[in-house]
């Protein structure tokens, strides 16, 4: 009884520690971006007031934005606003940043989820197949893919796909996501594929898929190799362990040895990597969205960075930090499911 209570207590403590850690990282990130946003070379008030504004107007705008206050006051006010969920207004769109982000995020989520599902699943399966059949002509293909995947720059893959499949062959649109206009598809989630799927009209679903193909393919090509290589080497390493020989000596079927015995032990590094990739994904879509003019978080970030839109920049770094740390913390909770020693330690 006390044992259980102690265990619950330590679990709570662990949860609180990781929560505190997340808060610490986010706070540091916010502070760093705050400092960065105040050293931008461009004058935000000047940008906000417009090019033809006179010095008085600029001063007025500056006072309105609170930029004439001492830095400490600005910092305090920024933190206070943040706690109430106010991320400020974008200089470009003149909208609250939070609204901009909410409009942009679904399109990015669509890209991220679609590509992530594909490269995680294919990466794991291909890695297993590689370890399971280590010889044969298919390994040449896998090795080739692995080498290319780690060394190829995202922007190059995107451009080549665009030039070949959209430009020359015209199989897919050059740019943009699913166009709702005139289709009568209600914007429920903001993700073209999901929304068209909800209407159940095949031609529309096909259209949504067509717009999605090239950007998703770009992300898959550049992310697949890591998972695949890691899965393969990790599983291969497990299959060399003595316990596998023991299972073989017991006459256990090879398929059962690979999938029941070795696979679980080999997942740990793969899960870590998949977690990191998911955590990075918001940053990872920037280049792809720029190439394919995909109106999501990445393109919004690109525009904000280009225009020194400091409120947007701070919101973008904040959001991606929160996502990254949270995903990492969640991944940390998966390990005990893979390793009984950790599970019992909880």
């Amino acid at each position: 009884m006390t044992d259980r209570r102690e265990r619950t207590g330590s679990r709570l403590l662990r949860l609180l520690t990781s929560l505190a850690w997340i808060l610490l990282v986010v706070w540091v990130a916010v502070s760093v971006t705050f400092v960065l946003s105040r050293i931008v070379p461009a004058d935000p008030a000047r940008l906000a007031a417009g090019l033809d504004a006179g010095p008085e107007q600029v001063a007025e705008v500056r006072a309105e934005m609170g930029l004439d206050q001492p830095l400490a006051v600005q910092y305090g006010r920024y933190l206070g606003d943040l706690l109430t969920g106010d991320l400020g207004r974008s200089l470009q769109t003149r909208q609250p940043v939070i609204d901009d982000l909410l409009t942009a995020l679904p399109a990015s989520l669509e890209l991220i989820l679609a590509s992530y599902l594909i490269y995680a699943v294919i990466g794991i399966l291909a890695g297993i197949a590689w370890a399971y059949w280590p010889r044969g002509p298919h390994t040449l293909l896998l090795r080739f893919g692995a080498v290319i995947g780690v060394a190829v720059p995202v922007f190059w893959v995107g451009l080549v796909l665009q030039v070949v499949f959209a430009g020359k062959l015209q199989w897919f649109p050059v740019a943009g996501n699913f166009d709702y206009e005139g289709t009568g598809v209600p914007k429920v989630t903001g993700m073209g594929l999901v929304d068209t799927a909800l209407t159940g009209q095949l031609p529309l679903i096909g259209e949504a898929l067509r717009t999605l193909t090239l950007p998703v393919a770009t992300l898959v090509v550049t992310h697949l190799a890591v998972t695949m290589t890691l899965m393969r080497s990790s599983l291969e390493e497990q299959l060399k362990r003595p316990y596998v020989r023991t299972a073989r000596a017991r006459g256990v079927k090879e398929r059962r040895i690979v999938f029941v015995d070795a696979l679980r032990n080999s997942l740990n590094p793969v899960v870590t990597m998949l977690g990191l990739q998911l955590g990075w994904s918001l940053g990872g879509v920037v280049i792809v969205e720029v190439i394919f003019s995909w109106p999501g978080f990445g393109r919004y970030a690109y525009q904000a960075f280009s225009a020194f839109d400091y409120n947007a920049i701070m919101a973008i770094t904040l959001l991606s930090t929160v996502v990254f740390v949270t995903v990492n913390a969640l991944v940390g909770m998966i390990y005990p499911m893979l390793d009984p020693r950790l599970k019992e330690a909880r």
Partner: protein, 285 residues
């Protein structure tokens, strides 16, 4: 980087049974390293024409013998631009990784050597850095410092050193328990002496492997930043910027974007396979 390697006493045992005759893949690796060095040091000898020379009559020429990679919208020879751009792209990547490796090594070694509270504080800082999504932060830092190659460089170094710090700290921690270090201590060697001569040399092999692999990754990251307009600025023939400019007319003049990208890919591939080769030579550790 070669100097670091010769300083490693551990390297000698392996060198003693060095291969008698270089294999084809070793020759290939050597040749590509020489080619990259030539790009960096004497681009003028390799480039057929002036990378900044505008000639509107020659715009959008497809690849020919005269213009190996074709010409861009201003009639500049893209091959020459790529050759001259190596200095910016590869050169900056080398600086990024070198600075990150040096700082990270010193930082990690110091944390491990002094231990205790200092170690805990130093490593917490590393943890915080590693808990940042580095792509977005690289963009944010680079944008805030004012767009330019130097800003991109600073941004990448700031985000790259912690992984070296963590790696070197781990190695130093296990090395200072080693008998040869205890022996040196018994013989009365001072702390800095031990660190310099008996501990750090043994970390160089792994740092070198990581360094080589990272050169490729830094090139991808740097050209990516430039591609987004957060690195080099026009008219620098930096590779990422070159490709970003060519993106607008990629559908009509594919060569202007695709061929320089090919070069980025090949150079990265080369660094990666070089790193892989070093790792395999070092054996499984």
């Amino acid at each position: 980087m070669t100097r670091a390697h010769t300083a490693a006493p551990g390297g000698d045992t392996r060198r003693s049974r060095a291969p008698r005759r270089p294999t084809w893949s070793q020759l290939w690796a050597g040749a590509t390293v020489l080619a990259i060095a030539a790009l960096l040091l004497v681009p003028g000898w390799l480039a057929p024409s002036d990378p900044y020379h505008l000639d509107v009559s020659q715009r959008f020429q497809p690849p020919t013998a005269a213009h190996l990679f074709g010409t861009d919208d201003a009639g500049r020879d893209i091959f020459s631009r790529v050759v001259h751009g190596a200095r910016y792209s590869i050169g900056t990547s080398v600086v990024v990784v070198t600075a990150a490796a040096l700082f990270g090594t010193v930082y990690g070694a110091a944390a491990a050597w002094f231990g205790g509270a200092l170690d805990r504080v130093l490593m917490r800082v590393v943890d915080v850095f590693l808990a940042f999504p580095y792509l977005v932060f690289a963009m944010a830092i680079s944008a805030s410092l004012g767009r330019g190659l130097t800003s991109a460089l600073i941004a990448l170094v700031a985000l790259w050193w912690p992984s070296y710090a963590r790696m070197v700290r781990g190695q130093v921690l296990s090395l200072i328990k080693d008998y040869h270090v205890r022996a040196a201590r018994t013989l009365g060697a001072s702390g800095p002496q031990i660190l310099r001569w008996h501990v750090l040399p043994h970390t160089y092999d792994q740092v070198l492997v990581r360094y080589t692999l990272d050169l490729g990754q830094a090139l991808i990251a740097l050209t990516g930043l430039s591609f987004l307009g957060l690195g080099a600025q026009p008219p620098t023939p930096e590779w990422g910027l070159l490709i970003a400019d060519a993106k607008q007319y990629a559908l009509t003049a594919w060569w202007a974007a695709v061929l320089p990208g090919c070069v980025v890919f090949l150079v990265t591939l080369n660094f990666m396979s070089l790193g892989d080769r070093l790792r395999r030579r070092g054996g499984p550790r």
